[in-house]
Assembly symmetry: D2
Homo-oligomer: 347 residues x 4
């Protein structure tokens, strides 16, 4: 860490900072500049918060050199993390393609979409059963009933299922049914929930908060990893900016940035990051071209009657067309969609 003193800081203030550094078992190194003194704190400071020094009298700024996260860092784990998920590999050459409805609305709806996306080439199924909704007056999800339908859809199609967990109390029931626990954008810094999920051994899909920096996303993943759960996928889903032409702004830069900072697999959610069905294909292709390891896309059999997020859901036909385009782009960047065995359709 580099502690820059204010111009005119006293010798006593400098000594005080040195003592504080030594208290953390770090050694010090002093640079006397023309206007200011800089004190380097040398040693393993991953778990030393900057604030300890920021508030000392005479300190101007504190700059961290080593990253504040460790287990998520590519520095400590240079190889890409790759893990198996029901027959395909997340984070390797395979593109992970998760598709399904925003909300599970009924058994019939879910099974139909599940089969359709499987036939199109999806390798995992998404579906919300507990829904975080801005308004208390709208549909809030089917709860455990929805989980049963998800399990049935897995049985039918062979795809692992992904669903969002919103509170610690839901974990117990969810682990019985789902293959991947999703942490939604609004809960990215719900640290109690992150810790609880870190204690499970189920893969986690962690979505970036809508105003979270890339560093904060990595710190959030550290909560899960430090609990012993190493199978974490990160997901860019758009950030909040001044632009109102789309629901969110897809931070496509985050794909190569995350690839350079972490070994964890990176997914992108073009449905939420654009909020508009007309832009999903374009952004899906961009994500794969940029180096993302996968996509999570909303598909609904009848978007015009969806109980949530219909505006951003593709029809199965649109999804089918998109998968073809994704395959072409994946090939151009030396990736591929894994072959899937669509099980026989049950009527």
């Amino acid at each position: 860490m580099l502690i820059v003193m204010q111009p005119g800081a006293s010798q006593e203030q400098i000594k005080n900072v040195i003592s504080a550094i030594e208290l953390q078992n770090l050694s010090t190194h002093i640079i006397e500049g023309v206007e200011q003194t800089v004190i380097g704190a040398v040693g393993d400071s991953h778990s030393v918060p900057k604030e300890i020094f920021e508030i000392l009298p005479g300190v101007l700024t504190v700059t961290r050199i080593s990253q504040p996260y460790k287990m998520a860092s590519r520095q400590f784990h240079p190889q890409d993390s790759v893990f198996q998920l029901d027959g395909f590999a997340v984070g390797g050459k395979d593109i992970t393609l998760i598709a399904g409805p925003c909300s599970v609305e009924s058994r019939g709806q879910l099974l139909e979409i599940a089969q359709a996306v499987r036939e199109a080439g999806a390798n995992a199924l998404r579906g919300g059963v507990f829904k975080p909704r801005t308004s208390p007056y709208v549909f809030q999800g089917l709860g455990e009933e929805g989980l049963e339908y998800l399990a049935e859809a897995r049985e039918l199609t062979g795809m692992p299922v992904v669903a969002e967990v919103m509170s610690i109390a839901q974990i117990e029931v969810m682990v019985k049914y789902v293959d991947v626990l999703q942490i939604g954008a609004r809960n990215m810094q719900n640290f109690s929930l992150l810790r609880a999920v870190g204690e499970t051994r189920i893969p986690v899909l962690l979505k970036r908060g809508m105003s979270a920096t890339v560093e904060e996303l990595l710190m959030a993943s550290e909560y899960i990893l430090s609990g012993g759960n190493s199978r974490v996928m990160l997901c860019e889903r758009g950030i909040r900016t001044f632009e109102t032409a789309t629901r969110n702004t897809t931070d496509i830069n985050a794909v190569p940035v995350l690839k350079s900072l972490t070994h964890l697999p990176i997914l992108l959610d073009p449905s939420h990051s654009t909020g508009h069905v007309g832009y999903v294909a374009s952004i899906s292709k961009a994500a794969i071209a940029a180096g993302a390891d996968g996509l999570i896309i909303e598909v609904h059999g009848d978007p015009t009657h969806a109980l949530s997020d219909g505006a951003q859901s593709l029809t199965p036909e649109q999804f089918f067309g998109l998968v073809k385009q994704i395959k072409a782009v994946a090939k151009a960047v030396d990736r591929k969609l894994p072959k899937v065995n669509a099980k026989a359709r049950v009527n």
Copy 2:
């Protein structure tokens, strides 16, 4: 609601929209423009989500006219909400002045600060016992032990106490000790928690999320109000923008905007909204001048050894000086700090 059709939308698409409107028990009204058709949906649409129409074929945009919240709205409750809190009135002429440490660190620390801020003129005490921290490697709070110290501080000083609740499981123990439950910025859209707090009858201090719009803040308050808990204070605590000179950007505009949209009391947290002790006095005065009903300010007996957020904490001496300035500005805008009876200091 106003549904604007795309240029060239077909008669069938228009009919389809009309059917969807009527299904919601709203009546329709059509404007044929030069390029486009607009369909008005007339009736009580507070609980009808826009999305139902946005995803219909041929629809360009849907504009909500009535607000998506009701109980929080000044339209439905024109008078300011004023409620008593241990001898003073929140939301009236009195300025609510909540002060205390970011974290409760020890019994001695808390009791000393509590007495100091009381003597300076604070009318409520804040102190975190469960801390949301970006990094899993730093101090996470004292838990129930901290709550006991808060209760002791209340006994000693006569001030009601405010503490942040981070998960549903904490509510049961917290309601035994605290007078006001705070929902932090990171949990503003933790809807499970909002519902749970709405079922209690304890006043709530709801902080704006760092990238939440004013409308989303009001929607979040609606979750609490619709549970039957009417004593909600809203708190502006800075939003995230491109500016890096301060930790957050104080959205001072939110003060008059909220005053016009809602009857709920509005507080401002200059410690978090600036992140820097040097700017707290300036922004405290600005908030009162702008019409805020109160302030929540971090004070620490020894900021340079605080376990969290020391950089933004005032010393008791600084706080004492600030209260005098706040009094002068409050008087200039026809408000006042309520007289408090500082109980005798106990040793």
Copy 3:
């Protein structure tokens, strides 16, 4: 336009709004809602500013239905604009690939880079001669001397040249030398300059301001188009957000959004939108996959000694490798890099 009246607006206020609408030669259409009245203003309102109505007493909001720009709009010009530029087509199947140094630094530097990027496959050359710099203390460009080198580079390589114009006074000399005038992000709303450039008949590359909305970009292009200059290319170059991991945030969503709103060709500048050479390849591929019509990329023979923006410049070798990858992605989305005849190298 739709004018929503405040709840409780008086009959007189409503009449007043109707008069104001009729003054603009628009007809009115009234919807009486439960709480509020909405007045539709029907007719050609492209050039009627919203503000005329927003400030009338009793008006709550005014929503524009028709777009505030006309000549840039796809609605009025459904076919993609395609124009020839020295042997290749901007805006059609061909990918426009503009490359070159941030600043023209010397004759030798420019000619060497020009030949290198031409051999790699670029079809136009960029190079700044008047540089907008945040600090008055750094290199500000070679001026007309630089223009002469650009002209020589065109002669040598056969590529058209692009350079930024910073003030009206520079136009006269620039049109003698360059093929495309670039308007930089900082001047996107320098309306005097936009008008002046609109009066020339030289193609314009208009970069999006770092905090400009897509709509404002289109309004800026309208200034140029309405002067009679129809050959305008738009360029996404990153917007300013809270994220600090990259210099700007590439708004990749803007590519499909602009494609749906306008007929003008859309380019993307991955050098500025990321600010970091390590991310340029990833974002270049993403842009083409998303549907952009071209790229403008900084290349420098010796980035470590560049006088400006070295951190984001590729070496000729890196650019050569990137062109191969761009070709593969272009093919995947049914586009292509035009064949170029690299003229013989002159020593």
Copy 4:
């Protein structure tokens, strides 16, 4: 400057950085950390751009310690800058209160408003004659005719006049008529214009760009100051954020931040920073309470027929009421509105 090397940077790369530092006549100081090496560059580096080092191989980040501006810095000019403007002092105890219409629309309109704001207590008059407008289809200002009316209004009321300059070509005519040249937000980084204005000796009111950082605003002022023009006022006028409830977000934090970084006077424009007449009074009082040296407020005799920005203009009556409130707040923070001699009204 502190240059942090990448983990694993080679000895050769480190030597290369050292050479580059020495080339700038700075001396070096090396800290060998556990994972990384840090190189301090010691000496006067105000005019050395960071980029020179950022692009060297093996460099991770470069942190500037001394500020990149010098003449604007409080470090080099500890006392507040105070300058006389036609009988009152900008930047001292006096509050500067500039008021007037967004655009000069006619002689009668301007003279009437000028007298009204003078009687209410304004000490300078604003009025646009060249208007930067987002759309090419709306009123663009009266030009020199408007300047004549401004001069007449000054004669009549004794107030100095402020008007915006949009291009270098306008400076010559403007300096004949106006007392203060305003640089608008859209031109804050129009460096050619900044230089040209810096060569005049007329006071300048420099508005912050809508997405400019505080540091960039100070750098822009450095362009003017380094030309020899020392009478520069800075003006916060709202920044662009995700919040849409107001036209811009008033960055009230910028007031104390700028006060700590620079000696230049700081004004605030509540009309543009809120965009709504209903919020102007609240934000005006907040600005003065926060420590601003003045305000610039739009007033229009008949806002509902204003040719621009009517929605944010006060009537003379509203302004009269506001001045009383501003006086009360100014007194509470030990400032005052200077007495003005309203000349006799001419009919």
